[in-house]
Structure formats: structure tokens, C-alpha cells
């Protein structure tokens, strides 16, 4: 298994290289640069700005030095979770842990891309995690209920409910939930990311989408399993239906859900920018979209790289879990 993980990690190097290269050159080919401003900036000032950030050098030179900055130079992953500045939060310091320097931000001169990402990652991860929990809890429940009462009104109701998440865009669902629960019922704040309660509406909005997929998969998986001989045996032995489902069927029925977790996590993490905008969450998604529009070259590349790294890592975890769950699969 260790070999499998190592091999997978090695394979990510060319991927990340391709991503860096594509992003680097695509961004620089798009019209408008980081210092394009509404009010005219004199040529001298522009030259000084470009010199400060090294944008006056040939593109190849810029690319090479950026790649060198990105290259890990040490290995101290534990320092990712240290709190060097003592402000009570995890630093997530890529510089201290791996010597990766994502460069200065063009838009925010007093912060580095490392710092910006470290500051935004927790909110995005937290949102993603809550959303995943909502999706799993709701999706599995609906799926199991639908499967147990196959082709009845209950099944149709559960399946339809699940479909809502697939058919209604989050930028409609989000404001609707805010209007109802925040402005009408006054249970939550309309936007923000300050209190524990602020997590509820965003997580629900994002989770609903994936609950829908998970419910469909669970229902399908459960139906397959419920027809298997060992379930019939269990039933014949007089086990209660609930017991049959929970003790025997659920394990096999959830396999397709686990397979789906990889893409789901990728989608939840990289797709949260709409939610982050609606609920004004200080997460990476919003930062990415803004930085793309601001032409904050280093911040865009940094965010994309981090997303890729994160998704690759989480997929690896899911794959490992999958093999664990289903011994018939083997580590390639």
C-alpha cells in the first residue's frame, strides 16, 4: 500500500507542473494586467511597479524563477499545523513546512500568497466538511428510505426531494434559504462567518446538491444488495427489516457512495465560490474568482495549485478507503 501511495504521489508531480505552466501562460496572455487601473498610471510608475514584481524580466526568466520558488526545499509537514505567530489559529505555513514560496500578491501588497491561502483555507475546508456531512446524512437517509419502500409514494417523494438539489442552482437556493430562515424566521444571520450558527445555511445549501446524488446512489446500491441471497437469508431467519437494512444491507449498499466521494469532495471544495459569495464566507473559492478577475497572477496560480493538491490528496484518501472497504479491489 505504501508503494501505491508513493507511486500516486510521484505521479502528481508532472500534473502539477502542467497546471502551473498552463495557468502561468494563460494568465499572461489574457488582456489586462495586475496594474491595469481605471485612472491612468504614468509610464514611469508602471515601470517601477513591474520592476518591483519582476514583471519586466523576460517571460521565460519569470517562469523559471516562479518554478524554483514553488519547488519544495524541505520536508517538515508537522509545521503546517504549528502556530508560530501565536494567534490561536493553525498557520498552514507552506514556506515553513516545505519551503514553498507562492510569491507576493499583486493586489494585496502587505500579504503573501502563502498567507492569503493559509487564511482562507480553513473556512473553505470547514464549509466543505459540514456540507459533506449534510449530504451524507440526508442523502443516505433518503436513499435508504426510498429503497426500503421501492415504487411506493414514499419512494417517489424521497426521490423527488433528492432531485431538488440537482435541479435548482445554489444561487437560487441560497437566497431562498436566507429569506426564509434569516430574514423571515430570524433564526440565523443573513451572511457572515463569525458564529457557529453562521455555518448552518451555507452548509445546507451546498450539501443539498450532493445529498441528491448520494440519495440516488444509495437507493441504487441498496436495491442491488437487498436482492442478494444473504439478505434473503437474513430475512428468512426472521430479522426485523430495520435490522436487515442497518446490519446487513447498508455495508454493501454504500459502496457506490464511497466511489462517488472522490468526485464529490472535489466538487464541494472547488465549487464553493457561489456559496462563499452569497454568504460572504472568507474562503478560497471567492478569493480565486476575484484574483482571476484582478489578474493577481501569483494568487491565481497559488490557489489553483492548492486546489489541485488538495483534491489529489483527498482522492488518494478515498481510494485507500475504498480498497479497505472492498477487499476484492487491490492496490494497483
Amino acid at each position: 500500500m505504501l508503494r501505491f501511495i508513493l507511486k500516486r504521489l510521484l505521479e502528481t508531480i508532472p500534473v502539477l507542473l502542467v497546471i502551473v505552466t498552463a495557468t502561468f501562460f494563460m494568465l499572461r496572455l489574457v488582456p489586462g494586467g495586475p496594474f491595469t487601473a481605471e485612472k491612468a498610471v504614468s509610464k514611469e510608475i508602471m515601470q517601477n511597479l513591474e520592476a518591483h514584481y519582476g514583471l519586466d524580466k523576460p517571460l521565460g526568466h519569470q517562469y523559471a524563477s516562479y518554478l524554483w520558488d514553488l519547488t519544495p526545499k524541505r520536508f517538515a509537514p508537522w509545521r503546517l499545523f504549528a502556530d508560530a505567530d501565536g494567534n490561536g489559529t493553525v498557520d498552514f505555513d507552506l514556506q515553513a513546512a516545505f519551503g514553498i514560496n507562492l510569491g507576493p500578491s499583486f493586489k494585496y501588497p502587505n500579504r503573501t500568497v502563502n498567507e492569503i491561502i493559509a487564511g482562507k483555507l480553513p473556512a473553505s475546508l470547514e464549509l466543505g466538511l459540514w456540507a459533506l456531512l449534510v449530504a451524507l446524512a440526508l442523502g443516505i437517509t433518503l436513499g435508504v428510505v426510498a429503497a426500503m419502500r421501492k415504487n411506493t409514494g414514499v419512494d417517489y417523494a424521497a426521490s423527488t426531494l433528492a432531485m431538488v438539489g440537482i435541479c435548482v442552482p445554489t444561487f437560487v437556493m441560497g437566497p431562498l434559504l436566507v429569506l426564509l430562515f434569516a430574514l423571515h424566521l430570524r433564526w440565523f444571520n443573513a451572511s457572515g462567518w463569525y458564529f457557529a450558527a453562521d455555518r448552518v445555511l451555507p452548509a445546507a445549501t451546498l450539501g443539498l446538491v450532493y445529498a441528491a446524488y448520494i440519495a440516488r446512489l444509495t437507493r441504487g446500491g441498496m436495491l442491488d444488495v437487498l436482492n442478494q441471497d444473504y439478505i434473503r437469508t437474513a430475512r428468512a431467519k426472521g430479522a426485523s427489516e430495520l435490522r436487515v437494512v442497518l446490519r446487513h444491507a447498508l455495508r454493501g449498499g454504500l459502496l457506490p457512495v464511497v466511489t462517488f466521494l472522490g468526485p464529490a469532495i472535489a466538487g464541494i471544495i472547488s465549487g464553493s465560490f457561489v456559496i462563499e459569495t452569497i454568504f460572504q464566507i472568507p474562503g478560497l473559492g471567492r478569493e480565486f474568482v476575484n484574483s482571476a478577475f484582478n489578474r493577481d497572477y501569483t494568487l491565481v496560480s497559488g490557489t489553483v495549485l492548492l486546489y489541485a493538491g488538495l483534491i489529489i490528496g483527498l482522492n488518494l484518501v478515498v481510494d485507500v478507503i475504498q480498497v479497505w472497504l472492498n477487499p476484492r479491489l487491490k492496490f494497483e
Binding site: T36, M46, T89, E126, Y194, R286, N294
Partner: protein
């Protein structure tokens, strides 16, 4: 087999919980930004995330709002926000030739770390913003002073050669290249604010970007408030400064500047009681606020013009008759009444009628005349005229106005119009490089004086972006600052504005209004035409 199924799930859950734990540390602590009832904290919706809080680096309005709480210049706003009150300078004298300004500083002026604030601080600040290697985009605002421009361009390296000097600790003298009637208003801009050089030097070279002195732990300012916390993309909080003007205490205990970059989210936060003031109101919500009794909706004058630029270098728009026909065919009343819906004023000339300015010639929209002009230019009923593209940047209100004007030109003149939507940076690039036919634009005055508006159309000017050149116009504009008195100066501006109405390198569409929401709890909220105010005059009822 059962354990092999449960173990990984537990593992997953464990990873989740641990991730959550590290993500949550910030969240569960009682955050400084949390709206607490007892101290009087103004919850201010401040638009997008500020770039920085260094007055010499930033360029935006959101930064201005925060910086004017954290710093104070030589002069500041009065309680009505219309007049000028003494700031760090308690009084000032102008020489008879209007070229030398002497400011006498308060002897008790202090930085928030207790250091005394002297004329030398101002000198060193001006030197810093003008230093070429800092690349300050707003350094040009100081170019009125003798030698400032040359120093900024690196042609002059000895700062003592410039017109800035400090005869003693509490006197600052500015020698100008030419009279600047609006200098006091200009001094309220943050590019003229002092910064604490020793603090900046502590965190890096003073003349380089990327200095961390503006982080809350490092920050030193001289305004009524000082920086308390900064949660990026969330909120910046400021609290009263104990060193500001001795015993003076602002009415508020603090201000929370929320970075809210979606006006829909902002409006919902206001309704949910999370904000006292917003930046804007979504177009679709204006009507319902207008119809409310005791509405929180504020519609205030704003010193700006919304207009369309012509690319006068591209046929057929190089023909003034075509431009005039297009300008006359726009029904501004309908745009204002049916689309903007907040009582904006239709603009029939370019410079907003304010600060002593009254227009000379104005446009008289007239479809028949427009058709006649178009025919005279050789395009009867729009026949033979190539398709014209309207460029606008991605935003709902720009889109709707462009759609309306497209239709007006199409049905009124038979002109075939296409829309081109570009995101902000590309749109700016297209404008600066004249890669457009007609482009939506807006201009907000930097100081309440018509000069800044008419200065735009100087031949080859950095913000001209129309290809318009008119030597007579340039000469007249230069003569304005040397005019013997205000009346003469204003009549020159009237003539300049009339030239624009005649030549039409741009079509004025409407004069801006600031439209936002203000909680009835906020007291002492004054607003000037630039939407600026002194934070020290504002209070909050319980």
C-alpha cells in the same frame, strides 16, 4: 469484515473532526468583530476587501473610508462634511500670489504610539510617496508642488530642491508650480496624509512595497481611531485612539468595516440587522424601499457623471455629426426613470453643475434632428453605416443601460448596434488602447471642483481615452488656473464644457446619485458630494 468496514469510516470521521477543529479555533472564540450591543460600534458595509491600509499604496474608495478613520491630514472635514476644519494644521496662510501655503501644525499632535507628530513627518511622508521605487499610483496628486513631478520621475534626486519644506517642527510650507484654488479640498485625500516612517522602517525598506506595517499589531496612525483587527475578506475593526487631540473622544467607540462584495448579500445583511450602512442598493430592491414609510433609503447627490466614450479615431465616429446624432437619440429621462429608479439626473452636458459651475451649451435631445444629422453625414436612416459596438464592463446596471441605448439607436436611427461585454481589467485595457467604438464610462470627482472633469479631455491626457485632440481646448484649460478670480475661472470652465457639448467626444448620460441604506439609529451622518465625512462626528443611538 464488519470492522474492516467501520474502521475506515471512523478514520474519515476522525480526519473530518480534526480538520474541523483546526478550522474552528477562530470561529468559536468570541470574535472581536462580533456585533455586541453595549459599546457603540458602527457596522459599516464597505464594499470590496481593501488592498492595503498604506495611504501611499492604495487607490480605492473602500481604502479611503478606513484610512480617513485611521489617519488625519493637514485639514479635515467639518461636521457638515461640506466645509474644511483644521486637522493636524490648526491654521494656514496663503501668500498673495497664491503659490506659497504655510501650515502651522498643532504642537500637541501625536501618533497613536505616543510619538509627537511634526512637520518633518509630513516632509518624509511626501518624500516617500514621491520616491520612484515605491511606484505609488496616486503620487501624481502631489505634482502641484514645485519639483514634485521631477522627483517622482527620478529626474530630481535631492528632495530639498523641491517645494516642500519645514522651517521648524510645527511649520510646513508648500510652494506650488501654479495656483491651485482647490488645494484644501485636495489635501483631504489620503495621498497627502502623513505616515509614521520609523514604524515602516521597522518592517522593511520604506520605499518598497510589501511592507507589513499596516497589520494590526504593527500599525501606527494619527487619526481619531486606531486599527484593532483585520480579518481579510471579513471585517476590519477600529477603536478610539487615546492619543488623538489630547482628551478628544469620538462619539463612536469603534467602527467595523465589513468587506461585502455582493450588493445582494449586503442588502440582506442590512435587513437582518447586521449592518447600519450599506454601499449600495440592488436595482431590483429600490422600489420596495422607496415605498416604505420611514425608509432607510438614502439618495444623496454624488459628484460624478455617467457617460459613453466615443473612439473619435474610428470612422464613422470621427464625424462629429454622427456623434451628435447618437447623442441626441438617447432618451435619458426614460433611462433614469425606468431603469435607475433613484432620481438620478439626466445629463445634457458633461460637468456636474456643482461647486460654482453652471453649464453653458447643453444638448437638446431631438430624434428628428438626430435623423437629419445622420442623413447629412451620409447615412440616411442609418443606411451605409457600419455596425457599432457598445463596450461595457460586467455589471447588471451597465448591461441594462447598454441594452436600452442599443434599442434606442436601433429603432430611432436605424443604427445597427452590438453589445460587447468585457470583464473589468480587459475593459480598462480596451479603453486605454482605444480598442472600442463606444464605451460606457463614469467619472467621480476627486475634489469638488470642475477642473478635474474638464482636465480629462486634454489632448493625449492619460484619462482621455477617446482620441479627442483640440489644441484650443488645451490652451483654454491651462489658462484656467491662472484666472484672476473665481468668476473668471468658472466662465472658462463653462466655455470648456460647451466645447465638449459641441464636439462630443463623449455622450453624457446621467449625473450620479449615491443610493444606499442607512439605519435610523445612526446620528450625525452628514454626506458631502464626494460621499466623504469625518467619522468623529458620527454617533449611534441605542
Amino acid at each position: 469484515m464488519r470492522t474492516s468496514f467501520l474502521a475506515p469510516l471512523c478514520a474519515l470521521l476522525l480526519i473530518g473532526v480534526s480538520l474541523l477543529a483546526c478550522g474552528c479555533t477562530k470561529a468559536t472564540e468570541p470574535s472581536a468583530s462580533a456585533p455586541t450591543p453595549s459599546p457603540k460600534i458602527l457596522q459599516f458595509g464597505n464594499g470590496s476587501e481593501p488592498q492595503d491600509l498604506d495611504p501611499h499604496i492604495v487607490t480605492g474608495v473602500t481604502e479611503h473610508n478606513i484610512i480617513s478613520a485611521l489617519f488625519e491630514g493637514l485639514v479635515t472635514y467639518d461636521a457638515s462634511s461640506e466645509g474644511t476644519a483644521p486637522g493636524v494644521a490648526e491654521r494656514w496662510v496663503v501668500s498673495p500670489d497664491k503659490l506659497t501655503w504655510t501650515f502651522h501644525l498643532r504642537p500637541d499632535a501625536r501618533w497613536s504610539n505616543g510619538d509627537s507628530l511634526t512637520a518633518r513627518d509630513f516632509l518624509r511622508s511626501y518624500q516617500r510617496i514621491l520616491t520612484p521605487s515605491l511606484g505609488s499610483e496616486y503620487a501624481y496628486k502631489l505634482h502641484h508642488v514645485v519639483g514634485a513631478e521631477e522627483f517622482n520621475q527620478g529626474k530630481l534626486t535631492d528632495f530639498t530642491q523641491t517645494g516642500f519644506c519645514a522651517p521648524d517642527d510645527h511649520t510646513l510650507v508648500l510652494r506650488l508650480k501654479h495656483p491651485v484654488p482647490y488645494l484644501l479640498e485636495a489635501l483631504k485625500h489620503y495621498s497627502w496624509f502623513p505616515v509614521h516612517l520609523p514604524t515602516i522602517a521597522k518592517f522593511g525598506p520604506i520605499d518598497r512595497r510589501g511592507n507589513r506595517w499596516t497589520l494590526p499589531a504593527n500599525f501606527v496612525g494619527n487619526g481619531p481611531f486606531m486599527l484593532k483587527t483585520w480579518l481579510p475578506n471579513q471585517v476590519i475593526t477600529v477603536e478610539c485612539s487615546p492619543t488623538y487631540r489630547g482628551a478628544f473622544h469620538p462619539l463612536l467607540d469603534g467602527i467595523a468595516f465589513y468587506a461585502v462584495d455582493s450588493n445582494d448579500a449586503e442588502e440582506r445583511m442590512f435587513r437582518g440587522g447586521q449592518l447600519h450602512v450599506t454601499q449600495s442598493v440592488p436595482l431590483g430592491r429600490i422600489d420596495s424601499y422607496r415605498s416604505q414609510p420611514a425608509s432607510p433609503l438614502v439618495i444623496a447627490p454624488y459628484y460624478g457623471t455617467y457617460f459613453y466614450r466615443f473612439n473619435t479615431t474610428r470612422p464613422p465616429l470621427d464625424d462629429a455629426r454622427v456623434r451628435r446624432a447618437l447623442a441626441l437619440a438617447i432618451d435619458r429621462d426614460t433611462i433614469v426613470k425606468n431603469i435607475l429608479r433613484a432620481g438620478q439626473e439626466p445629463a445634457l452636458h458633461f460637468t456636474p453643475p456643482y461647486a460654482g459651475f453652471t453649464p453653458g451649451e447643453v444638448l437638446h435631445p431631438d430624434l428628428a434632428e438626430a435623423r437629419r444629422l445622420l442623413a447629412a453625414a451620409g447615412y440616411p436612416e442609418g443606411r451605409g453605416l457600419r455596425r457599432i459596438e457598445i463596450l461595457y464592463n460586467t455589471m447588471e446596471s451597465h448591461k441594462v443601460i447598454a441594452e436600452a441605448i442599443q434599442q434606442m439607436w436601433k429603432t430611432g436611427l436605424g443604427v445597427d448596434v452590438a453589445l460587447r461585454n468585457e470583464e473589468w481589467k480587459v475593459y480598462l485595457d480596451s479603453q486605454h488602447s482605444l480598442a472600442f467604438d463606444v464605451a460606457r464610462a463614469g467619472w467621480i470627482g476627486d475634489y469638488p471642483d470642475p477642473h478635474g472633469f474638464l482636465d480629462l479631455w486634454v489632448s493625449g491626457g492619460g484619462n482621455n481615452d477617446t482620441g479627442y485632440t483640440n489644441p484650443a481646448y488645451d490652451r483654454l484649460l491651462t489658462s484656467a488656473l491662472d484666472a484672476p478670480d473665481e468668476a473668471a475661472r468658472m466662465s472658462i470652465y463653462r466655455e470648456l464644457d460647451s466645447i465638449i457639448t459641441r464636439d462630443l467626444p463623449v455622450i453624457p448620460i446621467y449625473f450620479y446619485k449615491r443610493v444606499y441604506l442607512l439605519s435610523p439609529k445612526v446620528r450625525g451622518w452628514a454626506s458631502n458630494i464626494l460621499d466623504n465625512r469625518g467619522w468623529q462626528y458620527i454617533d449611534l443611538a441605542n
